[in-house]
């Protein structure tokens, strides 16, 4: 019989994973929410870019010989005024922040007229600063650090939630519709679980890759490529940690969901896993400026995908630290998969009342 070939474990996993992906891509709710998420990312990058470029330009008025001087400074938005008086009235009206007028005899040949306060930033832009060499570079702008924390936290949280819940629902769907019995008589339970975890992981990675790509394109288009460069290594680590961290969480979702038989019970069964997913998100936002908490987070497997990239971004992690933390995560992921597939295969045929965890673990 040439039509038939003994399917390998990999074949089965492949087929299950492909089905998971196909069905998810057919879900309108998923496509719409992904579209919204992507628009939000793109919009925030673009808006951030616009705000930062306009904010850095200072509106000034200039007269006479000062016009050429002012226009030579790229951060200034120069309005040419006929006379000093016109320039002064522009300052009074608030059209410009300050006026730059020629001043014979002063050091740099101009003087500044402002309304009620000394325009410090403008003065700084006008002065020529000496070259500065930092002995301990790497201190990161705290605002930027905060945004990085939110970004890592939110992306991890969103993806883990979205696809973790998908796995949980797919597991219970098979239990609830009883198709699981046909599946179990056809392929191994491990292949079934692996297919689900891998299929949803691929979707999660693809979503994150698209988001990262959009952010990168957005940053480049709006001329913020220096920001991109400073995020580079931490994003790379984030992806690596996410891959294994997500597989671990996916296995947990599959195992806990297999304990119940009705969609209505998925929420309560998987809530412990959800707390594990939410915790790093909350912690990283609350404690992104606390090195100790971040250091602990970067080694605890559940929060490492957020904690370690954060420390890499802040420059606090030694080169070997991500590797060590990754090793811890790998071992935990392997243990969770072993334990999870045990629970999964033991609980899968028990329909009706919720299966107790201890029962699922024993047999």
């Amino acid at each position: 019989m040439t039509d038939y070939r003994e399917p390998s474990f990999a074949n089965s996993v492949n087929l299950v994973a492909a089905r998971e992906i196909r069905m998810k891509l057919r879900s309108k709710a998923f496509l719409i929410s992904t579209g919204i998420l992507m628009l939000a990312v793109l919009a925030s990058v673009l808006v951030g870019g616009l705000v930062s470029t306009t904010a850095s330009k200072t509106n000034v008025a200039a007269t006479g010989a000062a016009v050429a001087f002012a226009e030579a400074i790229p951060t200034l938005n120069v309005t040419v005024a006929d006379s000093v008086d016109t320039a002064k009235s522009l300052v009074r009206e608030g059209t410009v922040e300050a006026a730059i007028i020629p001043a014979e005899g002063s050091g740099i040949g101009v003087s500044v007229i402002a309304l009620d306060t000394v325009p410090q930033s403008l003065v700084a832009q006008l002065s020529t600063s000496p070259k500065v060499e930092l002995l301990d570079p790497g201190a990161v702008n705290p605002v930027l650090a905060y945004f990085a924390a939110i970004a890592f936290g939110i992306v991890f949280f969103m993806s883990a939630m979205t696809f973790g819940t998908t796995i949980a629902q797919s597991v219970v769907e098979e239990k609830q519709t009883r198709i699981v019995e046909i599946l179990m008589s056809t392929i191994s339970v491990r292949a079934l679980m692996a297919g689900k975890v891998i299929g949803n992981s691929i979707l999660a990675f693809a979503q994150i890759a698209v988001i990262a790509g959009l952010a990168a394109i957005g940053l480049t288009l709006t001329g913020q490529s220096s920001l991109l460069a400073s995020f580079g290594p931490s994003i790379a680590w984030f992806v690596v940690f996410f891959v294994f961290g997500f597989v671990m969480i996916a296995a947990l979702y599959a195992a806990t969901a297999s304990l119940v038989s009705r969609q209505e019970d998925v929420g309560s069964a998987t809530s412990p896993v959800m707390i594990l997913v939410m915790l790093p998100y909350i912690l990283v936002i609350a404690f992104n400026n606390n090195p100790l908490v971040l250091a602990i987070m970067s080694y605890v497997p559940f929060s490492a995908p957020v904690g370690m990239p954060m420390r890499v971004f802040l420059g606090e992690a030694a080169w070997w630290e991500p590797l060590l933390s990754l090793a811890v995560l790998l071992v935990t992921t392997a243990a969770v998969i072993v334990l999870g597939s045990r629970i999964y295969s033991n609980a899968l045929l028990r329909t009706g009342a919720r299966v107790k965890l201890s029962e699922a673990l024993s047999r």
Binding site: D3, Y4, L15, R178, I187
Partner: protein, 294 residues
């Protein structure tokens, strides 16, 4: 040939299968009957490897069953289930692929089978929007699509209208004619009666009888006869070797200890007036069933 020998299984201290032993032969339709909770589903699940037996063996042509063998089985579980949001054909192709069919064969078998089962026009409908009867047909297609070498069907006829029952019977008979052993359970004893070559009767987790229909008839069915005379037949009371079951005017239903006793009674009836009808009554499956599980 598929053979179960001394299969036992308990759930939390309750023994649901006791030394279950029977076999299913090639090309034979084997009916599996028993009351609710007698152990039919558990036995089928053990054959399919969905459950494991506590002790005992399941062998195929003398070799213990392995996962690879079971993948070539067709199974229809008692609890029906297909993915509600998948299209009928898509879903059956998917299951065929899981069983190891290549994509072209999976497509081809699915199309043929859906046409055979009268679901061809519903191939692109999602399962959830099918009527229950049609869902049932789709379920049968799912069990047959990979040209299984052994079929194990738990209540394949429940929920089907009479026409669908006939369609499904036809499909199953065709499989058996190709040499596939078919084991099916059913509560509808009349269908089992029409369809099965062999019979396995289970009660309280133990096999009470198994073998060909004829063998079971001979073993458990007592010889019953119906005689309709042309005049009142009350005189049969007290005839030696005859046990009367029902007597109404000129008609009597009786059991005879021997075939000779029945013939003698017929002779007497002819002498006494005349006989309108005399017929030996084959025991129905329902009667055998009651006999066996008593």
């Amino acid at each position: 040939m598929l053979e179960l020998v001394n299969v036992n299984r308990s759930f939390g201290g309750t023994r649901v299968l006791r030394d279950v032993t029977f076999s299913i032969a090639h090309g034979r339709m084997t009916g599996f009957v028993g009351a609710n909770g007698a152990g039919k589903t558990t036995t089928m699940r053990i054959i399919l490897g969905v459950l494991s037996a506590d002790s005992g063996t399941v062998t195929r042509d003398g070799r213990p069953l392995e996962t690879a063998d079971r993948r070539r089985f067709g199974y229809m579980p008692e609890e029906r289930g297909l993915y509600p949001k998948m299209k009928v054909a898509e879903q059956i192709v998917y299951l065929a692929r899981l069983h190891g069919l290549n994509p072209a064969a999976a497509q081809r078998n699915t199309a043929t089978l859906l046409d055979q089962l009268g679901l061809g026009e519903r191939a692109d409908t999602t399962v959830e929007s099918l009527s229950l009867g049609n869902q049932q047909r789709a379920q049968i297609a799912a069990a047959l699509v990979h040209d299984p070498e052994i079929l194990v069907l738990d209540e394949p006829f429940s929920g089907l209208d009479p026409i669908a029952v006939e369609t499904v019977q036809g499909v199953l008979k065709e499989r058996a004619a190709r040499g596939v052993p078919v084991l099916f359970s059913s509560h509808q004893l009349d269908i089992v009666e029409r369809l099965c070559d062999d019979l396995v009767v289970i009660a309280e987790g133990a096999i009470r009888a198994s073998g060909s229909r004829e063998k079971l008839r001979a073993e458990f069915g007592e010889s019953r006869y119906e005689l309709e005379a042309t005049s009142d037949i009350a005189w049969v009371r007290g005839t030696p070797g005859i046990e009367i079951e029902a007597l109404d005017g000129a008609t009597v239903t009786f059991r005879a200890d021997t075939a000779d006793a029945a013939q003698n009674l017929l002779r007497t009836a002819l002498e006494r007036g005349g006989v309108a009808r005399f017929a030996p009554q084959e025991p129905s499956l329902a009667q055998i069933f009651h006999e066996v599980i008593q």
